[in-house]
């Protein structure tokens, strides 16, 4: 089972100066930076997924969040995705480069933002090894399997569009001489309808299916979907799980003949999750999580800046507390400060992230106590000291500090590598 990471320009400056919080002088964004697969050995994933909607503005969608500039999109198309992602050469030979449309970007739109012709051209020019036909997400998955007549017209239309696109898409890919392996996207409103879609895609000639719409689903619902699909398709037909948010429960999915799945969660959780920011392999073969220690930059953090602008906080005062928290955490790491003193300094600064949020002192005190307990656990266990991944070896305690993209993304890369190792063990364990 291959683990693909869905990249959205996630690179870090290898020469970042953590003490002064500066990029290395002369650093050029992207060119001086490194991707996780360049930074870490072994690479923390088996392939990369790139969404077209991250590269190209989704037509007619005003809110579409494109990560690539025009010049980066143009270079990606000129040089190919492999060269752009610096994911080539013998080290990454045979790795999967999967293109998809990033259907989330146009989910509100009546039809997909890209036509099959445009998508085939894009995948071909970018040189993907695999590409998914433009689909249209159906969100609600009803495990009671309502009939086609029982669902609303918009859902039926999304179902039909996805299949009609897949037919056109496959024809075009064949006409172009199969420059990449096409994947048929499965969308449906129930396990049964998804199985029907899978069956029809297989009949069109697809040998590899991508199951969509899984993001909001619970583990049991995903299992119900996969069971229904597997019953309707050939055993040799391959399956990819799109945006598989339940990556942690992967051990429950080894029996479904899944060839690949993609997830961003190990990296994203490093800085989006409330408390599970740092991954560690537990002794029982399961993943454990730690909260990162939040010491944001006083004059850059949006929340603190708001307080400063309103006059609730003084910038100079915050800067002093911020500095003290950083000094204490680093001293603690060297063994030059106690866990108690460090926790005090961290929480003394942390309180400003909550004060002024209008929830009232009682709520805030409660939230602070919760955070203090989580931070205390992180401080006590010092998980960064046990890890020998390239990130933890390189920057030590900085990896656990929740502050600026260079720390947060590195922590994400660490998580990817812990996760990837965990996945290999899981697969071996069940093989």
């Amino acid at each position: 089972m291959k683990f693909l990471y869905s990249d959205t320009q996630d690179y870090v400056d290898p020469g970042y100066d953590f003490l002064n919080d500066r990029c290395r002088p002369g650093r050029e964004r992207y060119w001086s930076d490194v991707y996780a697969h360049e930074f870490m050995d072994p690479a923390p994933y088996d392939g990369l997924l790139v969404s077209m909607s991250a590269v190209r503005q989704a037509a007619g969608v005003a809110t579409s969040k494109v990560r690539y500039s025009t010049r980066e999109e143009q270079r990606l198309l000129r040089d190919g995705a492999r060269q752009f992602l610096r994911y080539g050469g013998p080290r990454f030979k045979d790795t999967m480069l999967l293109g998809d449309c990033g259907a989330f970007a146009y989910v509100e739109h009546p039809v997909p933002a890209y036509a099959p012709e445009e998508v085939v051209e894009f995948y071909t020019e970018a040189g993907f090894t695999h590409g998914i036909s433009p689909d249209h997400i159906i969100f609600a998955c009803d495990l009671t399997n309502p009939s086609e007549q029982a669902v609303d017209a918009a859902t039926r239309q999304r179902f039909a569009i996805t299949l009609a696109n897949a037919e056109v898409f496959l024809g075009l890919v064949k006409r172009e001489g199969m420059p990449f392996e096409p994947l048929g996207p499965v969308q449906g409103w129930s396990p049964k309808s998804m199985a029907e879609a899978a069956h029809r895609l297989e009949r069109m000639g697809y040998r590899y299916l991508a199951i969509g719409g899984l993001v909001p689903l619970k583990v049991d619902a995903i299992k119900a979907v996969l069971t229904a699909i597997r019953e309707r398709i050939r055993p040799e037909t391959e399956i990819h799980l799109l945006g598989f948010a339940k990556a942690d429960s992967i051990h429950e999915f080894t029996g479904f003949g899944i060839t690949s799945f993609d997830s961003t969660s190990p990296l994203i959780r490093a800085f989006k999750d409330e408390k599970a920011n740092y991954y560690r392999e537990g002794s029982d073969g399961r993943l454990e999580y730690y909260t990162a220690i939040r010491i944001p930059q006083a004059t850059e953090n949006a929340r603190l800046m708001q307080g400063i602008k309103r006059g609730q906080f003084s910038a100079e005062d915050l800067l002093l507390r911020e500095r003290r928290a950083l000094i204490e955490v680093r001293a603690y790491d060297r063994g030059a400060s106690s866990a108690e003193a460090t926790l005090d300094a961290v929480m003394d600064y942390h309180q400003f992230l909550l004060r002024g949020d209008g929830t009232g002192a009682a709520q805030q005190d409660k939230a602070l106590r919760k955070t203090a307990a989580l931070v205390q656990r992180t401080l006590k266990h010092q998980p960064w000291k046990e890890c020998d991944c390239a990130v933890c070896r390189d920057i030590g305690v900085e990896v656990i500090i929740f502050r600026s993209s260079n720390r947060n993304k590195r922590r994400g890369m660490h998580n990817l590598s812990v996760y990837h190792r965990h996945l290999s063990k899981t697969i071996q364990g069940t093989a």
Binding site: R22, P25, G26, E28, W31, R56, Q57, A59, G60, T70, R71, E72, E73, Q74, R75, L77, R78, D79, A115, E121, E125, Q297, T299, E300, M305, I308, K309, R310, G311, Q312, S314, A315, E316
Partner: protein, 359 residues
């Protein structure tokens, strides 16, 4: 209570007002003067006046001031209402005494807060700054001084860009801009350049092509395109200049009537959007066809010509987005659309003759 004493020079200005200047360490300045940021009291009253810290600005200043040879000749301005006694010495000199009590600092930073913050964060114990001080009769007058002093007009960006090629030791973020400004200079003022005299600059107001659009073209190419491959050479400036100049020689030859003497409002080719988008056509022809000289750019541009609508007609940008020739504006999203349309039309056109050639 702490007392600071300085010998200062007094200037004769408005009667009844004391204005004087002295040298002090930044840390001392911050202990006798407060930065009162603008805010609201609980009952909605405005207090303070200073804006918040701008982290990137402070970083730029800090980068510069960390250098051994850094100078800061302009003074920070501090206003006092009370807490200061001024005693006449002689020859315009005065003895200034500032009393700081436990809970309040008598001075207010009126100008220079970012500089003081930057200095307070670096280890330069010997470094002094000039303090220009004014004594106001009340807080309102102090706020008035703040507005008057800070209500200056920043230099126009285009003038700064034109000065850039000749200025050393600037913050990092200027270096890309500096390189492109230098190439635009060469394109505009070198005899034989395809853009000789064509670019509008402060010193060339009759030029018709926007200098910022040309800079954008060069910055795009230097970071992700053809010019990037030239950066490793010592004579990269000359090579970059030649490449762009050659490309526009070819453009002029192929699209003559849309090019020669045309104002941007009559030809989209000379408009910011057209210039920036054509930069990507240049990068594409260089990268995929190896074009370097005008004769090598021309065939591709000729293939592209039937798909363009620089001065009349319509742009079929997407299946559902057809626009009149002048319906493209100088916005990032329009430039993006035009770029994609031009490059993909070019690619298709380049593909066709090859298919025929390959039988």
């Amino acid at each position: 209570m702490t007392t600071y004493r300085f010998t200062a020079v007094r200037a004769q200005q408005a009667p009844g007002h004391d204005v004087f200047v002295f040298a002090a360490h930044p840390a001392d300045v911050l202990s006798f003067a407060a930065i009162e940021r603008v805010a609201r009291t609980d009952d909605g009253q405005l207090k303070g006046f200073q804006r918040h810290q701008v982290a990137s600005h402070i970083r730029d200043i800090r980068d510069y001031l960390t250098r051994e040879d850094a100078l800061l000749p302009n003074a920070v301005i501090i206003a006092f209402i009370e807490g200061v006694t001024v005693k006449d010495l002689s020859d315009g000199l005065v003895q200034v005494q500032i009393d700081v009590t436990q809970d309040s600092r008598p001075g207010f930073v009126v100008d220079g807060q970012q500089r003081l913050t930057a200095l307070s964060g670096i280890n330069k114990p010997e470094f002094q700054v000039f303090v220009s001080a004014v004594i106001c009769k009340d807080y309102n007058e102090l706020r008035q001084q703040f507005v008057l002093i800070n209500n200056t007009r920043p230099l126009p960006k285009t003038l700064i860009y034109e000065l850039l090629p000749n200025v050393e030791g600037l913050p990092e973020r200027f270096t890309q801009r500096k390189f492109s400004a230098r190439i635009v200079d060469m394109l505009n003022f070198t005899r034989g350049s395809s853009l000789h005299g064509e670019v509008r600059q402060h010193t060339n107001p009759t030029g018709m092509i926007s200098d910022t659009a040309m800079q954008r073209l060069i910055m795009n190419s230097a970071s992700d395109g053809a010019i990037r491959s030239l950066m490793r050479f010592d004579d990269r400036e000359e090579r970059a200049f030649q490449l762009v100049s050659e490309f526009f020689h070819a453009v002029a030859r192929v699209y003559g009537s849309a090019w020669y003497g045309m104002a941007p409002r009559f030809s989209r080719l000379r408009h910011g959007a057209g210039i920036v988008a054509m930069g990507f056509v240049m990068d594409h022809l260089h990268s995929l066809e190896g074009a370097k000289e005008r004769g090598q750019f021309e065939p591709g541009l000729r293939l592209l010509a039937p798909h363009t609508a620089w001065t009349s007609g319509q742009w079929p940008l997407e299946a559902w987005d057809t626009r009149p020739w002048n319906g493209i504006q100088n916005t990032p999203s329009d430039i993006d659309l035009l770029t994609r349309y031009l490059v993909s039309s070019l690619k298709k056109a380049l593909r066709k003759p090859r298919r025929i050639a390959n039988g």
